[in-house]
Symmetry: C2
Subunit: 422 residues, 2 copies
């Protein structure tokens, strides 16, 4: 195997080769981490990093270039972005807006505190990191806001997966953790949208970004939302979901993603909002989820992780001082997320062990964090070195969740969070 | 709107824009042709041609370049090829190999005659066309074989759609037409595989192509087929289809496509064969079909048609003599397919009207023909001018099916093909 740039007619061959390797590596690593009682998503992240410059690029650079030659990088990157869009659309589809509306005081307090504390710590950390790991191109405000968001993300789907694997999704602890993560997610996405808008505005024209975003949100909530609700009600009466309805939903998602991308925030917000506008328990949402979930998880997400892994160069983090900074980031992120959630849960009347379990769960970052970090890298807010450090932070905090939870659970029998409703 | 090549960061914007326009145009044209009682696929073909250099490129070239800038052409082309692969995988999944095994003598005779006659006519036509519309690079044998295949394809899915729309899929005429088309399809694909192998061999090393293809087929039928059958039986007993099974099936499809692509025949054969090896009525096949069918039809196939349309320059067919050649191709293709099926059906004891209906149905070319033609264009066997003529032939013969069938049906009441079983 030699590192050659393929001629145009070999593009399909190399795209297929990359897909086969990426899907196989993701499944293999998923099976491997399952033995460590880690969720499959960790295996996929790991596979991506192993296939990239951090391992394969060191051991056998020729093989890495053969598998992912520069000529097909834009194609894989587009597939990855479409995959994440479809995934965010699915997350939006599964979002139970009605249930979010019934949220309790405890949920709001815990979720907001567990965002505000790491966000504030991230902003503080930025004072230290900006002169060391950023460039003059990135204004401090943008950098600090982005670091704040990076530290305050919770991976709702990974959390859901961990809880389901342990049969905790129906328990009080599980329900409160899930609700906090969902509310926290929405808050974090709003913050990220704000930060990218500020970042784009700092780089381009502020007014256009804000005007298009405001117009987009107005159209989505005032015009599209009632139309979707009416169409879905009519659809429910007819029984079967027509192909036309699916085409409309997917076309609408693409259009919504295009609008947010054009506005200067990111396509994933449009895809997410399009999903959230479709009632979560409608037959249309269920049909779309059944149609997309497996293909997205099996085929598209591994491509996303692989392209994230390709961009992650752990080798860039070099020397004791940089590894110390990396450790500091992991500590700050964990302290903020765990500390915020734990303190808020204690104040709201949770027992110590359950508050600790909640804190550990909220510290899961997984896929969502990687999406945020990729946005930061694409927009030029993060340098490749800081990107690598934050990826390590995401991997470390997510890996830590399962053993810490095991340890907490062993210490005190079955989970029984006190139901604090208000 | 101006025709600018987008910088790298705008790639996602342009990919999304192209997808939105392509999906919307496909649905709009689909709705339009539905009023003419044409199957939706004709609308999608039409949308592709309208968005390409044949119409939009003439009327507003700047808009066409804005919607499909050269920078995203490889990305759209990869999406289109992945889409066709997934589609061929679905066609393979739906192929009822057991039923094919129970085929009657009438079916075999009609399907083979309706391949042999247009194939022979195509070879004959090649004697006339090779000096006029080919280049010295393409050996006459390859050119003639390819033209033969082009004229003998029947579009199984379009045929199925037309029959379903008219409620004929359960009638004797419908069943025989479907079976003939399915058998004919398999024959035509084998021929195409042979021709591309000959073409690749003519250009590269013959032995490697044949050796890899033979090894691939041996592995698929001797090793993979029993393994798949056993795994699917085990899966059936467990009840639900796991994500691991879906990952294996999709990964297997990618690997099979990669093998045929590497062998020098085309990725679509590997995808098709992977689908055909999974038992048609298993729960796995049904789950995969449910998961893929809508997304492929709504999202991926319109991209394929659009990229076919982008390559079709009807303007290349210029002057009376070239239009006469185009007409000659349409006549030869129709005479061969209709004539072959009609004569064989009469010999096998069908009434005149039913034999004619069968002939008209078998003359449907649609999507399958476009797949074949794209292979020819990619491999350099067809010049862009001949490609445009053959696309026109495919469109014309498919468009003609519905009105001709209407006319035949009006002439003689309800369809009642004599069941000739042997």
């Amino acid at each position: 195997m030699t590192a050659v740039v393929p001629p145009a007619q070999d593009v399909l061959f190399h795209v297929l080769l990359a897909l086969v390797v990426v899907v196989a590596a993701a499944r293999a690593c998923g099976a491997l981490v399952a033995r460590l009682h880690q969720p499959p998503v960790m295996g996929e992240v790991l596979a991506g990093i192993l296939l990239g410059p951090s391992l394969l690029g060191q051991v056998a650079p020729a093989v890495m270039h053969y598998i992912q030659p520069p000529a097909i990088a834009p194609i894989l990157s587009s597939l990855a972005q479409l995959g994440v869009m479809l995934f965010m659309f699915l997350v939006g589809l599964e979002l139970d807006t009605v249930r979010l509306g019934r949220r309790t005081r405890a949920m709001i307090v815990i979720s907001q505190v567990s965002i505000v504390v790491p966000f504030a710590l991230g902003m503080g950390l930025a004072v230290f990191l900006h002169p060391r790991l950023s460039t003059a191109d990135v204004p401090f405000t943008v950098f600090a806001l982005f670091l704040g968001v990076s530290l305050s993300v919770t991976a709702f789907p990974v959390l859901a997966r961990i809880l389901t694997d342990r049969g905790l999704q129906g328990s009080d602890l599980g329900l409160i953790a899930l609700s906090c993560a969902a509310v926290g997610d929405v808050t974090a996405w709003c913050l990220l949208a704000l930060v990218t808008a500020v970042a784009s505005a700092a780089l381009a024209s502020a007014w256009i970004t804000f005007a298009i975003t405001a117009a987009y949100l107005a159209v989505m909530f005032v015009v599209v939302r009632p139309l979707v609700a009416r169409a879905v009600r009519a659809q429910e009466l007819r029984g079967t979901v027509s192909q036309g309805a699916i085409a409309l939903a997917l076309g609408g998602m693409l259009l919504s993603a295009l609008a947010t991308e054009a506005a200067g925030i990111h396509a994933i917000f449009g895809a997410f909002l399009a999903g959230a506008l479709i009632p979560h328990d409608s037959r249309l949402a269920q049909t779309l989820t059944r149609a997309l979930a497996d293909v997205v998880v099996v085929l598209f997400l591994p491509v996303f992780f692989a392209s994230t892994g390709m961009r992650t160069e752990i080798g860039l983090v070099s020397g004791a001082s940089e590894w110390l900074i990396c450790g500091l980031i992991i500590l700050t992120a964990s302290a903020g997320k765990f500390g915020g959630a734990f303190a808020a849960a204690r104040v709201m009347g949770f027992a110590g062990r359950d508050a600790a379990a909640l804190g550990v769960l909220m510290n899961t970052r997984g896929l969502m964090e990687l999406i945020v970090l990729n946005v930061g890298l694409e927009r030029g807010i993060l340098t490749p070195t800081l990107f690598a450090m934050l990826v390590l932070m995401a991997v470390a905090t997510t890996f830590a969740t399962t053993p810490l939870l095991d340890w907490l659970m062993r210490r005190g029998g079955a989970p029984a969070a006190e139901p604090v409703r208000s």
